[in-house]
Symmetry: C2
Subunit: 203 residues, 2 copies
């Protein structure tokens, strides 16, 4: 029973920390705010996670752990290239609608701590684009798609899927729409983006 209580508290803290860190980043987050959100005392944060830095790292690892499988979808499943792009785009956008702050959080903290990248790459399930590269080379050889570097195509796919969320405030201002209309636009992208990419590369 104590065990259960402990686990609950620890998880409550982690969930509260996720919300705050995802929105405010390491520098902007306050331990007091996390404690308030978890409805416990500030001292308990240190009891369970020792320091802000360690709590942050727990949140970051968890975030990357959610993101990595999404990437592995496109990189390592067996479906054909066009189908893969379609599936990835659709599922990725649904994913980010559920976790709106997550990709920006990961990218932002990586920009501030580029050495994190080294740690990440050491992880077991760190995504690799080797298989995707082969598929692209194959499709080019078979004349299904125009010649393109796999890296460029990969960057394009990531950009078209992730940026609309990261750039939301800027983009809503520039295209002059309210939040409701912008969400419709995002939702349309579930199919729009895939056909845009496929049109760009197919012969």
């Amino acid at each position: 029973m104590e065990k259960l209580k402990t686990e609950n508290t620890e998880i409550e803290i982690l969930n509260a920390a996720k919300e705050i860190f995802h929105q405010k980043g390491m520098d902007g987050a306050r331990m007091q705010e996390i404690a308030d959100k978890a409805k416990i005392n500030k001292a308990l944060l240190h009891y369970y996670y020792r320091s802000k830095q360690l709590l942050f790292e727990a949140v970051f690892k968890s975030a990357f752990g959610l993101l990595a499988p999404q990437l592995n979808n496109i990189l390592n499943d067996d479906s054909d290239l066009f189908e893969k792009i379609t599936k990835f785009t659709n599922s990725y956008i649904s994913f980010v609608i559920k976790h709106p702050y997550l990709p920006n959080f990961v990218i932002q903290e990586l920009n501030k701590n580029p050495e994190f990248v080294l740690k990440l790459r050491a992880e077991k399930h760190f995504p690799s684009i080797d298989k995707f590269k082969l598929q692209v080379a194959d499709a080019i050889k078979q004349g299904t798609i125009k010649p393109i570097e796999a890296e460029q195509l990969f960057i394009n796919i990531m950009a078209l899927n992730i940026f609309p969320f990261i750039g939301e405030p800027l983009l809503t201002a520039l295209i002059n729409v309210d939040k409701k209309r912008y969400n419709e636009i995002l939702s349309n992208r579930k199919t729009e983006v895939a056909s845009f990419i496929i049109n760009a590369i197919k012969i």
Copy 2:
């Protein structure tokens, strides 16, 4: 002569503040670090800019002031749609290579302070996509490009140009290249991105 000295100091401070704020953001920046970089005393920062907040706002306005003309290029010049996309892509990527932290800084701070957007839109030279919309509608009517919402196309252009810089640490890790090779890839994008977009939409 005093006037000159004053202007120099004020500008020195602003330049130092830009470097620090662009890299670390509002929350991560330290007034002491800015003072060190400007080679003056911390008290002088307050003498010239009163508070960290006001110094930050000066930096932010300046950053947006550099970015806006870049956007207006694509939105409001008179060249034909394909040419416009080509010119914008090429010039935007050159611009960001010169100011690598700038777009990320603007986007990041807008995400933390969405109310900034309202202030920005009130500015005189705030970019509008009205003309771009008309051009897209025209091109569709004339059968030059496939049907696409102008907003979606605009988002795609922005995404493909901006994201590779914002996502650099993540992308280098995923495609497993070093910084030198990644810069080559970015440089290739000056032409790659435009043809990718044009292929996606042309009939």
